[in-house]
């Protein structure tokens, strides 16, 4: 196969970078799911990754252990102070309590308004019904009762290996078999546990985003000095990807980085510094000009994806 003809103006390095970026976008798109609300609007949902869910689970397990151990200590203290003779009743109570913490911790939190355990909340995850409908209590029960085989079974087989009551091979087989359940989320598109599959749920990300000032509002303020005007050609030098990068730079990076970015843009569009122009003012003005131009083109149905997208 002959390589496709090189497009003018793209260096080898830039082409490699661009391809890597597109592969990254594709990977991201794989974890996005479209859900159409009854109003007919589409909402994009992002699935929680396997590592985030494992992290949330570890936080939850740590909290559960903290509760259980604290209760054990508290009970033993109380029974010693009251001098109850036998600590058996306290121990009986603790055993039942242990069962409920182990099995109902997740259920109680996920039935609630946020549909997330504390661990999930910390990592910005929540449980949702796969069909976009209501998350029913039965689903929550189903997905959490199944956890017993996903985590409990491999654990039990692993423990069994130490005592060797069943014969090494059988234990090994059991361990491998039960690990199929444990690793199930890694091997399916929707990152579902077996419990999610049975319950018809999945775990999605619900990041809380703050609404920030529009960057273009800065340019209309009177104190910014004389307006900076770009020619149409200059305002068309970049595409949507670069616009978004520029937005990130303006919103969250240090003055040093802003200065670098400003220098690169000036070089690219052949800009002559105006008297008294700051890097920030230049970047904000350029952002506004670029966005205006790209939004105009978008209204006409042309999305200029990035600076190489020349149509």
């Amino acid at each position: 196969m002959t390589p496709p003809p090189a497009r003018p103006g793209i260096s080898m390095e830039a082409a490699v970078q661009r391809r890597a970026r597109m592969a990254e976008e594709m990977r991201n798109a794989k974890t996005m799911r479209r859900m159409v609300t009854p109003e007919g609007a589409a909402i994009q949902l992002k699935l929680g990754s396997a590592s985030e869910r494992a992290g949330a689970f570890m936080i939850d397990v740590a909290i559960q252990w903290a509760i259980v151990i604290a209760t054990l200590l508290g009970l033993s203290f109380v029974s010693r102070v009251l001098n109850m003779g036998s600590s058996n009743i306290a121990f009986a109570f603790w055993l039942v309590f242990f069962f409920f913490v182990r099995n109902f911790y997740y259920i109680i939190f996920e039935i609630g308004q946020r549909a997330a355990t504390p661990g999930k909340r910390i990592l910005g995850l929540r449980v949702a019904a796969r069909d976009g409908g209501r998350l029913t209590a039965n689903s929550v029960l189903a997905r959490n009762f199944i956890r017993e085989i996903e985590v409990g079974l491999p654990f039990q087989f692993a423990m069994m290996g130490a005592t060797d009551a069943m014969g090494g091979w059988l234990v090994l087989f059991g361990l491998v078999w039960s690990c199929v359940f444990l690793l199930f989320p890694v091997f399916n598109r929707d990152k579902m546990r077996v419990g999610d599959l049975i319950a018809g749920t999945w775990v999605i990300k619900t990041p809380k985003v703050r609404l920030m000032e529009d960057i273009t509002s800065a340019t209309s303020r009177p104190e910014t000095g004389p307006p900076i005007v770009f020619t149409q050609q200059q305002a068309e030098a970049y595409g949507i990807h670069e616009l978004h990068v520029l937005e990130d730079v303006l919103r969250q990076s240090t003055p040093a980085i802003k200065a670098q970015v400003a220098a690169r843009i000036r070089a690219k569009i052949g800009w002559e510094n105006v008297e008294g122009e700051t890097d920030l003012a230049f970047l904000e003005a350029y952002y506004a000009a670029l966005r205006r131009r790209l939004e105009q083109r978008m209204l006409l149905g042309e999305r200029k994806a990035d600076k190489y997208d020349t149509r």
């Binding site: 009986a92 039935i111 929540r126 985003v209 529009d214 978004h244 978008m298």
Partner: protein, 332 residues
């Protein structure tokens, strides 16, 4: 210089007050539940939600401000889950479970219940008759677990003493009961969860537990203590064994749905079955709590065979009536 502003900026400026109002309501609701909202806010919510959703679809096509779009995206997702989320309180939900969901789930899965009972009592009968013929089978089934001396080598007097208690040290016994509850409840959840592998491990678990009890039964029967042992076992056993059979049935429901999805996709079939099976499994936990109470207190305090049998019969009649008696369709 208003005419000079970007279209997308003007679009956002006109609407952002409403978005932020919705944001505030949602934050309030998420932190403290619906009770925190005033009537005014409750009424405004659907309107604000629809506005945000339509803003999102417009913003996607006219705005390139990343922050606005991700903000609206997250706002709409949160609002969607709130507006279409579960409305019932935990108390209402529990009542609905007890009054309708649980009995209905069991009444509509009669055949799987019978299948599960067949495996359990099949294992029981198998072990029972094998052990009656040759007591060596007992050691095959139980290995070196001595079950507190309840084995074929024990004397009749010893076995009798394990059935009846003199009222001493009941603290120890309640600890034992809660330990058994933990074991049984975990076993029931296991039987349910393992149904996913086409129900095969569930069947094995049922047969295994049937064998354990059946062989023990044979020991007592062999020593002529069959009548007394039945009373000792059944005072709580009716509830406990019923719960285990039902947990097995829940496992079979899932296994059947995964193995034979019928006209639906395997996923959809598993999902429909999972909801029903989970309801049954939840019920099993409740039954096992009741069984543990009967075991921990009833069995230790009541030493009369007749009373034990009447409690066993009473609980059986109660469960059968609760699950299977037809009832009026009360609109909830």
């Amino acid at each position: 210089m208003r005419g000079d502003l970007l279209k997308s900026y003007r679009f956002r400026e006109e609407r952002q007050a409403e978005w932020q109002k919705l944001d505030l309501i949602l934050t309030k609701a998420e932190n403290g539940g619906v009770k925190n909202l005033s009537d005014e806010q409750m009424l405004a919510l659907p309107r604000l939600y629809r506005q945000a959703v339509s803003s999102l679809s417009v913003a996607r096509s006219i705005s390139l401000d990343q922050n606005v779009i991700t903000y609206l995206e997250s706002l709409c997702t949160r609002a969607y889950f709130f507006v279409y989320g579960a409305r019932t309180t935990l108390g209402e939900r529990m009542m609905q479970f007890l009054r309708r969901d649980w009995p209905e789930a069991i009444a509509t899965s009669l055949w799987t219940t019978l299948l599960s009972a067949f495996f359990f009592f099949g294992g029981w009968a198998l072990a029972f008759f094998l052990c009656l013929q040759d007591m060596d089978w007992y050691w095959t089934f139980h290995g070196q677990n001595f079950m507190e001396g309840r084995n074929p080598d024990a004397t009749v007097e010893y076995l009798r003493s394990t059935i009846y208690t003199d009222n001493s040290g009941d603290g120890e016994l309640s600890a034992f009961a809660s330990f058994l509850f933990n074991n049984n409840a975990q076993l029931a959840l296991f039987a349910f969860a393992l149904g996913f592998a086409f129900g095969i491990p569930t069947a094995w678990l049922l047969v295994y537990n049937g064998v354990m009890i059946g062989s023990m039964y044979a020991v007592f029967w062999d020593k002529g203590l069959g009548y007394e042992f039945t009373g000792w076992l059944m005072i709580h056993g009716v509830t406990e064994l019923y719960a285990i059979v039902l947990a097995g049935a829940a496992g079979f429901i899932i296994g059947g749905a995964v193995a034979f999805p019928g006209g639906r996709t395997r996923l959809a079939s598993a999902r429909a079955a999972g909801q029903k099976a989970a309801t049954i499994a939840m019920g099993c936990v409740i039954m096992l709590i009741i069984a543990a109470i009967l075991e921990g207190f009833g069995r230790q305090l009541i030493n009369s065979d007749v009373l034990r049998y009447s409690i066993a019969g009473g609980t059986l009649a109660f469960w059968l009536a609760y699950f299977h008696l037809p009832r009026k369709d009360d609109p909830l």
